[in-house]
Each structure stands twice: as structure tokens, then as C-alpha cells.
Amino acid sequence: MQSQFIAGRPMSGNTRHSGRATPGSARPGGAPNADLRVLLRAMRYVSHYRWIAFLAYGSLFFATAAQLMVPQLIQTIIDTVVQAFIATQILKMPALVQSAAAQRMGKTIADLQATQNGFTSAILFAMLAILGFAILRAIFSFSQTYNAERVSQNIAYDFRRDLFAKIQRLSFSYHDRNQTGQLMIRATDDVEKLRLFLGQGLVMALQALVLLVGTLIILWFTNHALTLIVLPILPIALIVFMVFGALTQPLFRQVQIRISALNTILQENLAGLKVVKAFAREPQEHARFERAADDLLEQQLRVARTFSFLMPVIFLIANLGQAAVMYFGGQQIIGGTLTLGEWQKFSLYLIYVFFPMGQLGFIINLMSQAAASAQRIFEILDTQNEVEDKPGAIELKEVQGYVRFDDVTFRYFKGGEPVLSHVSFEAKPGQTVALLGATGSGKTTIINLIPRFYDVTDGRVLIDGHDVRDVTIASLRAHIGIVLQETTLFSGTIRDNIAFGKPNASMDEVIAAAQAAAAHEFIMEFPQGYDTPVGERGSTLSGGQKQRIAIARALLLNPRILILDDSTSSVDLATEYRIQQALKELMKGRTSFVIAQRVSTVLNADQILVLDKGQIVARGTHEELLESSELYAEIYSSQLVGDFDEAPEMMQARAGVVL
């Protein structure tokens, strides 16, 4: 799963604060206890799927048992062969020698005859048994892996679901502090790491332990002395595996970094090819790319060197174990304390001692990563949402549209600079309030406080006399429509985008809204009309079209209170005129708050608030302010764009004058 996100995407228009503190990005303290605690907490997610987990773990025991049976049965075959062979030899001997030989083996002639006659069935039986166990092994091993995957995928689903729901609901201030890319990584990479550990790592760890213990028990009962020779290999193998993991992980991380550096250059050369060619910069770009390619090569070779050294060492350790068993086992055979079959069995079981060590080493590495991921995930899930319905919040039903700011002070951070201080004003139902001020003066903050995207630090925001904190957030926002300068459209059809705030709106309602927003006409020009899919971030539509869809979206809600940014992207005159008309239509009869960019808005406003450094420094109508406020005059002349409020014929006439 490749995940490449553009970090540092410019934040959307209504974000002011850009503190880049990402509390989730730091590796947690790393204390083993803390790791364990967070993993135990994560394990609670497994308990939702305890029956599937039970299947996986249950299968594990049977699969491992079947696996352990096979070398045992192969030993049986070999021992049977040897016994039967010797019996045959002895039975072929002269009678006198026969009984002496039999006695030496501690058996009677009858025993030997039985062995000789029974070997065929004994061997066939053992073969059939191996076949049976092989099938059992296959079935249970499949069931173990498959069910472990089911558990792990379900856990991943749950984590993603919970993360998504939480992030969707976290207030603006949280999103101001955390970047989309970071959150994406939480919901993808971190969930994936945790999934691998909880769903598969744990099963594997248990399997490794069961296999290891089972093997050691069998070996112990087969031959004590030989088992003692095998034991010292275990810690060595485990250490080597852990070292292996610890050494290679940072190397691979570095490889990833260099690959993405390389890809960035490539990406830029593709997207900016015209610039590269225009400035004839191919040689420099070539050198830059070559440098990055060499860096990558160098790192890859570093990885290769580590692997070329460590991998053979691991296999050598396993093989030396084999050789030790061969020698000391052989010694015992010569001494008569071990049979050939047992000897063969030992060397077969030895693989089962070694592999679990590798698995455990791997899982230990996985564990620390999973703990770090779990830590980051829970950090999000545990975040206290700063804006929440308070207990007993009432439903805001009918709204007149009376909005009042009562001595409002707002800080993004506790102890930070106030972004708004002691702001008071009121807007009567149906009034238009124009907000004016330099960047950073607090305009956006005011409009963000009305739908309670943030909570005030001091003072109150009242709608029809209700403090916005006393009503449910959903009912509050249902009465407020928002049209921003940078319109975000979503992948889906045009219809979906208009009905964004009211998904169950009827087609008639959607069309009516589109008509009022002067969008119906261009929508119908698309072959698929309202069902036209909108590309990512609305790429198939022009700026003016997007804006009209945003207006239609707000109109459909039929809100009592309206918040908008009246700037329009540069579109042709006719469209601009239509957008202005649509906005006018939209504002009719609603309490409107407009971040004013154009002359016509301030001219038509019932009230203009001039903001400076978080305070209202002047208020009144256009005429009043022109007289009284210097700042207003300055802003008016430097920031507002003139527009055409007149009918097209008028404009033509005026154009003539200009010429």
C-alpha cells in the first residue's frame, strides 16, 4: 500500500492558525511497560472477534501437533526398516547363531519373525499416517492463517472506523493543529502495523512458542543428552535475529526516504517539464537526478552488505546445529544409546527449533513498532473534542436569525494572543453584516464562531437569545449556510455535491436550488446533466461553475443565517453578473455575514464592521464610515474590487465612456 501524501498542503481558506505541533508524530517513551499497556488496550479490539480468534488459535494447536507428528512417523519408518532388515538378516543365519543374536537384541525369535512379517503393513500404515497428518496439517494451518487474517482485517476495519468517526467529529482547532497527511498515516500505516501485530503477530508468536516447546519436549524424551546440545543454539539464534531486525529496519527506512527523494525529482520534471525545457535546464536536472539515483544506489548496497553478512550467519548457525547433532548423535549410535531413526528424527526436528526463533525475533521487532502505532492511534481516539454537545443541549428548532456577539474574546491557545477581544455586535433578522479588515484582523474568526466551529474563550455568541453552546451542534449548523471563496467539491455527481448538506433532498429541490444559483443552465449543458461526475476537487468544473454549485448547496439548505465570502474567481462578465445575482438571491431575507471583497457588498450592507487586530474599530453604514473612519476609507480604496451591479446595457454604455 503505497501512501504518498503531500504534506504542507495549503490549508483551506478559513484556517487562521497554523501551529504545526503534531503530538502524534513522536515516538512514545518506549518504556516496555508503556508498550505493553498500550498493546493490551489494543488487544481489546481482538475480543470483538473472539470466536474467529478462537478458531485461529485452536487451529494453531492442531496444525502444530500435526506438524510435529511427521518427523516422528518418518523415524518410525526408518526404524521399522532397520529392525526388519536386521530381523531378516538374523533369521537368515544358522539357527544357533540366530538365537544368540536375538538374545543380544533382547528379543525372541518369534518377535523377529513378527517384525519380519509385519514390516510391510507397519510401513504402509506409517505412510498413510503421514498422508493423514499432512492433510490435517494443511487444513488446520490454512484455518490458522486464514482466520488470523480475518481477525486482523476486522480489527483494522474497527480501528479505521473509530479513527474516521473521531476525526470527522473533532473540532476545527484540532484540524488546525494536525495535517491531513499525518492523519492519513494514522489511518493507513499505523493501522496496518497494528493489524499485522494483533491479528497475525500474536498467532505467529504463540505458534512459534508451541512449536518450540513441543519440539523440545519430543527431543527431550527421545534423547536427553542430544537435547542439551541443541539448547545453547536457541538464545544465539534469537539474538542474531533481533540484531538482524534492529540493523535492517533503519536501513530500509533510509531506502524509502531516498526513493521518495528520487521520485520527487521525477515528479517535478514531469509536471514542470515545460519549465525545465523553457530554461534549457536538462543538464542540471540530469545531474540532480543522477545524484539522487546514486544516493539510492549507495543505500541499497549498504542494505545488501548487511544482508550478505547477516543472512549467511543465520543459516550457518542453523547448519552448525545440524552438524553438532550429527556428530554427537552419531557418537551415541556408535555407543548404542540412540537409533538411526531417532538420529534422523533429531535432524528433522532441528528445523522446528530454529524457525520459531526466527519468528520470535521478527515478532519482537513488530511489537515495538505496533506499540508505537497503537500509541499514536489511541492518542487520536482519546483526544478530548473541544466542541461537543453539552449534556442536556436543546434542539434549536425555528430560528428568526437574530445573532448577537456579547463581549466575545477568542484565543486559539490558552495563554496565546487573543484573536478577538471584547467583540460585541448584533445582527437583526434579515440584516446583512459586512466584515472588513486586513488579513489576520479576525474576520474569519467571527464567522467561525457563529456555527460554533470554535468555542469562545470569553463572552457569548447568541442566536435568537440562545447561547450556541446550549444547543445541539447539528441543529445549530442546520440553520446556517456557508459559501466560501475556495469551494471544495467532492468526488461524486453534481447532484451529490449540491445535496451535500441534505443528502435526501428530492431532485426537484436540487434543480430549484441550482436554478436560483444560476447553475442549472451550465449543468444541463453537460451530457450527463446532474449526474455528471465531478473529478477530484472539482477538476472538471471552472472556478465560476464551482462557485455557483457552492451557492446552490447553501440555497438548498434554506438557512436562516448565511455566511459568505463574496469574492468571485475571475470569470467572464456574464457569469460574474449571474453569480452576483445568485448571491443577492441567496441573501434575500436571511441574516448574512459577508467577508466583503467588493464595493457593492459594503454599499448594500446594513452594517459594516471594521476590524483591526481582533477588535471592532469602526461600525456603521458605508456613508457613515466614509465620514468617520480613516481606516475604512483606506481599506475601501485598497482592498475592495469594483463590480457591476447594473444591467448589462448600462455597462456597455459605461464602457463607451471609458473608451
Binding site: I6, R137, R169, A271, G336, Q344, F362
Partner: protein, 656 residues
């Protein structure tokens, strides 16, 4: 776990089947040929280490036959059975060391055993060293090849004309180079060595078994075809299943990306619950697809393992039965050592099959990836310097279009019979509706495309007669959507003139009116920009790109005026900067602003690829032709702008 994990990863990777594998492999060889000596060393090492691996079971067999069995018999029978007439020895006589005499003591056996084990240990050590060396050498050459391939592709992109990329999605090309190179990367080192070693081992072991005891060998290998069948069937199914997984995971990621980045809109419109619902649908689809796909990957490993057990049962059982049934298997002599040796062989035979099965999809995908990369490399550049091209002499600035016809697709003319002359220092404004061919004119001057017929001449020299690099070095271009690199502001401006000093860069920024905002950035000129200039507004990016062109100090300037909205103050800054920049240079401007057109020495009105009107703004308006209509519908919104530029705006507004 590691195996299982690796298998999942392998199957999850872009899994496709190659079309013409052998041709692609041959192409690869061209890249590998430079490192033939390394490959030769790898092959030698491979053969030696494989020989060692094959030798080990043989030696183990000898341990049994030459020391352990005789010792056992001695324990039981008091004497080796061979001294009894008519009874063949239980062991074969394939011993490297002298056969010990019947009088040998336990100590003699042990000493002999020790010697043989030492030999085996020596083999293990040597084979480890060889394996490590072999892996490193293979990786070394593989990574070098991959690096050269990457650079070759990169260079080829530069050779291709803009025309290629207007027909092919840049994203598609990007995928080829990143994803395909990555799949090759994953296959080129470890899997490649394993594959080679595995194949060699399989062949060698099979050969050894067949020469040692053909019939026993055939019986031992009975299960093998089933293993191949299982591998190919499960891999195919998994490949199909993972294709669905990829698309489901893609949906989840797209949904996450969209919802997280637009979370404010969602809250503003009370859409949280709806979005959560939607997300959970794609979340569940991804989960279910993954689980389905895992069914196949989970089954492959146990199947192969079970088949491995069955083959061991056959080796031990059938071997044992025939050994006891007269020490002969259809004429071949059996021995206990042979059975032990064959058990070892079988293990060594099955293991690489498992390994290869893990990597099979990986290798197939890599070949398919290479196929696509070679496909890209095979694209002929359609725009190259002509054989006798000379460097463009210092440009005076006369631009001339002579009966120019141009087309992107054969038969679809974009420009037809375009003629005009821009004298040095003149400003030519090109206006016209979308699709009229404005951008094409701009593209022909630095020879981003070639004309179909006619000629584009600069100072009387056809642009096709000079090298593209020398031509473009003297032409400045400011694009509508300025492209910035993820580097510092300083370097982004310096892009226009690689060896410019910092002072020159700063001077250019001043000229472009970009210095004010740059100085306010956290680290001034040394602020690193995000991808594609992330962190800057559209207007700021435009100012930087103007500074870049100013630094290049070209004689000819091509300008595509921005239409996207920037705030009024920046807009004015940009205007001022451009005015300064255009001064004294020949400029071709794709005009969207009234002020530009008014200042132009010549306005070309394009429609349907032809110049239908030309002249100065005032003359054209008076003519009341197409330009007049166009002006009325397109440029009028600038009028107020022009007004506020000249007259005090407050009074203008009051005067309404």
C-alpha cells in the same frame, strides 16, 4: 511469518503477467552485459555453492552407511553381517574414506565420523561465505542496472517533446517509472538470486537423484508436478483477488484523503454521520476483499508443505519397502544410506520450489514492469536537433511567423497560415477564445513543437536550424500556472540562471516585486517550499516565476497571463512587475487583461487557428469586428480596475 509476510507482499505488489517475457529478458541483458564479469563470478559461486548443497545429503548418507550402520550391526550381531556368506551388506560401499575393517573399534568409527562431520562443517562455512558473496555481487550488479535504467528513463523524458506528454498522462508515465522500477527493484536482488539458485538446485538435485538411482528418483519426485500446479493455480487466483484488494484499498485511501482534507466543509454542512456511513462502506469492502484474497495466499503454503510431507513419506516408505524386499528396486540396489540421502535430497528439492512459488508473482510483475519501461524508452523523440544545428547567436529579438501551419494530431489543424512579425522590443498581445491556438503560437517560438509547414524565425534564423538548448536559453517564459520546485525560494528563482549569485537573485526578486513577501517568509530566501510551491499563494508563486524570468534576462519573453483569482493587492504587484519586466524586450503575451492589450504594439486576434484581425486596441475596437465582441464579453470586468488604477477609487465610487 517472514515467509508468509513475504508472500503476501509479493502477491500484493502490482501483479501482472508479462506479454513477451523472453524479448524483455533479452533487453535486460543489454543492461547487464556491462557487468558480465560480476555475473560470471556469481554463476561460478552459484555452481560451487549448489554443488556443496547437493554434496551434504550425500555425506550424510555416507555417515550412515560407512560408520553408523556398521557400528550398529556390530553392536547387534557381534560382527558385520558381511562376513557371513550369501548375505549382502546392509550398506553401500560408496564411502570416501577407506572402509573400516571389521575389527574397527567404536573409537575408530567415532574418529571416522568426526572427520566426515568436520568436512560437512567446512562445507557449511564455505557455502555461507559463498552465499553471502554471491548475494552481494548479484545485488551490486542488479542495483547498478536499475540505477542506469532509471537514469535512462529520466533522460528519455527530457528528449521527448511536450507533444508526447499532452497525449500521455504524466501520472501514467510517473507510475511506470516509480511503480514499475519498484517492482523490478523488488525482484532484481534477493528473488533473482534465490530463483537462480533455486532453479540450479532443483535441476542439480534432480540430476543427482536420477543418476544415483533413476527409478527411486522418479518415485521420489512423483509429487513435484502437483507442487508446480498448486503454485501456478493459487498464484493466479491470488493475483486476481489482489487486483480487487488494490482497488478497494485505493477507494479507502481516496475517501480518507478527501474526508480529512475537507473535514471543515463536512462539519459546516452537518455531514459527519453521512460521511462516516460512506467511509464504512468502502472500509468494509476493503476488509472483505482482503479476506477473500487471503484465502488463496493462506492455502498455498500449507498445500506445498503437505505435498512435501507426502513426498518424504514416499521416499522413506517406498525406499524402505524395497530395501526390505530384497534390497533392490526394479534392479537398483537400495541401501539405508541411500534412503537417508534421498530424504535429504527431497528436502532440498522441495525447499526451492516453495521459495520460488513465493516469488513467482513478483518475478512476473517485474518482467511486465520492465516491458512497460522499455516501451517508454522505445518511444522515438519527435523533436531533435537537426544534424547540422548550430548554437543560436545572441538574439536581437525579431520574431517572425511565416505561413505557419501546426497540428497536434494529423489532420486536426490548430494553426493555419499564421503570419506576423514582432520587431525587437515590441509587445504582441494574442487574444481569442479558448482553443483558438494562442498557446500553440507561444509553444512554437521556443520550439516546444515543430510547425507542420511554414517557418518560425528568430532574427531571420529558422528555429529548427539551431540547437534547442541555445534557443531556449535566450527565451523567457512565464506560465499561467507557475511551476515551483520543492527547493528554497532562492533556488527556485535561480532556476532562470544556474550560476547567478545570491545578489543577482535578490535583485531579480526586487524587480519582480517579490522581495517583500519573501522577506516575510520564516527563513526568507532560504525558506524551503513544499511540493509544487506548497505554502505559497497563487499570486506569490506567480511573482517568483516572474523573478525567475527576470533573472534569466531573455531578449524574448513569452507570457501567459493568469486568469485565476489572486487578491487585488497582489494582482497589482504582478502587473507592475510585468510592466517592468517587459520593458525593452520582445514579448508575446497571451492576454487576459485589458491593460496589457492597451499597451500592446500589436494585437493579434485569433479564431479557429487563424489571425482574423490585427492592429492596435483602439483601431480594432473602432472596426467593431470580432475583437469588439470579444472585448465586450471578456475584458470588460477590467474596466473598473483600470479606473481605480488611474483615478482615486473612493471618489470614483462616490461618483456613481
Amino acid at each position: 511469518m517472514m515467509m508468509q509476510h513475504g508472500r503476501d507482499m509479493a502477491l500484493r505488489a502490482e501483479a501482472r503477467k508479462p506479454v513477451a517475457a523472453s524479448a524483455t529478458l533479452a533487453r535486460f541483458w543489454v543492461y547487464f552485459r556491462r557487468y558480465w564479469y560480476i555475473l560470471l563470478a556469481v554463476v561460478v559461486l552459484l555452481v560451487v555453492s549448489t554443488y556443496m548443497q547437493v554434496l551434504t545429503p550425500n555425506l550424510t548418507g555416507q555417515v550412515v552407511d560407512c560408520y553408523l550402520t556398521p557400528a550398529t550391526e556390530k553392536l547387534m550381531g557381534g560382527s558385520a553381517s558381511s562376513n557371513l556368506p550369501g548375505i549382502p551388506p546392509i550398506t553401500s560401499t560408496n564411502c570416501w574414506y577407506a572402509h573400516l575393517s571389521p575389527q574397527a573399534t567404536a573409537a575408530d568409527y567415532l574418529a571416522g565420523l568426526g572427520g566426515l562431520i568436520l568436512l560437512i562443517v567446512g562445507l557449511f562455512v564455505a557455502s555461507s561465505v559463498l552465499t553471502g558473496l554471491q548475494f552481494y555481487l548479484m545485488t551490486y550488479s542488479g542495483q547498478k542496472v536499475l540505477r542506469n535504467l532509471r537514469v535512462a528513463v529520466f533522460d528519455h523524458i527530457h528528449r521527448l517533446s511536450l507533444g508526447y506528454f499532452s497525449k500521455h498522462e504524466a501520472g501514467d508515465v510517473m507510475t511506470r517509472i516509480t511503480v514499475d522500477a519498484d517492482t523490478i527493484q523488488q525482484a532484481i536482488t534477493f528473488p533473482l538470486v534465490s530463483l537462480m539458485q533455486g532453479l540450479l538446485l532443483i535441476v542439480w538435485v534432480a540430476f543427482t537423484m536420477l543418476t544415483t538411482s533413476p527409478i527411486y528418483a522418479v518415485i521420489s519426485l512423483l509429487v513435484t508436478p502437483l507442487m508446480f500446479f498448486a503454485t501456478s493455480w493459487f498464484s493466479d487466483q491470488a493475483r486476481k483477488a489482489f487486483r480487487q484488494v488494490r482497488s478497494a484499498v485505493g477507494d479507502v485511501n481516496a475517501n480518507l484523503q478527501e474526508s480529512f482534507s475537507a473535514v471543515r466543509e463536512a462539519q459546516a454542512f452537518n455531514r459527519e454521520e453521512e460521511n462516516i456511513q460512506n467511509f464504512n462502506e468502502s472500509n468494509a469492502a476493503s476488509r472483505d476483499a482482503s479476506i477473500r484474497a487471503t484465502a488463496f495466499t493462506s492455502a498455498l503454503s500449507p498445500t506445498l508443505e503437505a505435498l512435501g510431507y507426502v513426498s518424504m513419506a514416499i521416499v522413506a516408505g517406498v525406499g524402505g519397502l524395497f530395501l526390505l524386499g530384497g534390497q533392490n528396486l526394479l534392479g537398483e540396489t537400495m541401501s539405508l544410506g541411500l534412503i537417508i540421502a534421498f530424504l535429504g535430497y527431497t528436502q532440498r528439492f522441495n525447499q526451492p520450489i516453495s521459495q520460488i512459488s513465493v516469488m513467482w508473482t513478483n518475478i512476473q510483475s517485474a518482467i511486465a514492469g520492465a516491458e512497460r519501461i522499455f516501451g517508454l524508452l522505445d518511444t522515438e523523440p519527435d523533436l531533435v536537433d537537426s544534424p547540422g544545428a548550430r548554437p543560436m547567436p545572441p538574439i536581437q529579438g525579431r520574431v517572425e511567423f511565416i505561413h505557419v501551419d501546426a497540428e497536434y494530431e494529423p489532420g486536426e489543424a490548430v494553426l493555419h497560415d499564421v503570419n506576423f512579425v514582432a520587431e525587437p522590443g515590441q509587445m504582441v498581445a494574442i487574444v481569442g477564445p479558448t482553443g483558438a491556438g494562442k498557446t500553440t503560437i507561444a509553444n512554437l517560438i521556443p520550439r516546444f513543437y515543430d510547425v507542420k509547414t511554414g517557418a518560425v524565425k528568430i532574427d531571420g534564423i529558422d528555429v529548427r536550424e539551431v540547437t534547442a538548448a541555445s534557443l531556449r536559453a535566450q527565451i523567457g517564459i512565464v506560465l499561467q500556472d507557475p511551476f515551483l520546485f520543492s527547493d528554497t525560494v532562492m533556488e527556485n528563482i535561480r532556476y532562470g540562471k544556474p550560476h547567478a549569485t545570491d545578489d543577482e537573485v535578490i535583485a531579480a526578486a526586487k524587480l519582480a516585486r517579490a522581495d517583500t513577501f519573501i522577506e516575510r517568509l520564516p527563513e526568507g530566501y532560504h525558506t524551503k517550499l513544499g511540493e509544487r510551491g506548497g505554502g505559497l499563494s497563487q499570486g506569490q508563486r506567480q511573482l517568483i516565476s516572474i523573478a525567475r524570468a527576470a533573472l534569466a534576462d531573455p531578449r524574448i519573453l513569452i507570457l501567459d497571463e493568469a486568469t485565476s483569482s489572486v487578491d487585488t493587492r497582489t494582482e497589482r504587484l504582478i502587473q507592475k512587475a510585468l510592466e517592468e519586466l517587459l520593458h525593452g524586450r520582445t514579448s508575446i503575451v497571451i492576454a487576459h487583461r485589458l491593460s496589457t492589450i492597451r499597451h500592446a504594439d500589436q494585437v493579434l486576434v485569433l479564431r479557429g487557428g487563424q489571425i482574423i484581425e490585427r492592429g492596435k486596441h483602439d483601431e480594432l475596437l473602432k472596426a467593431r469586428g470580432f475583437y469588439y465582441d470579444l472585448y465586450m464579453s471578456q475584458f470588460r470586468r477590467d474596466i473598473d480596475f483600470a479606473e481605480t488604477d488611474s483615478a482615486p477609487p473612493v471618489t470614483a465610487a462616490i461618483g456613481k
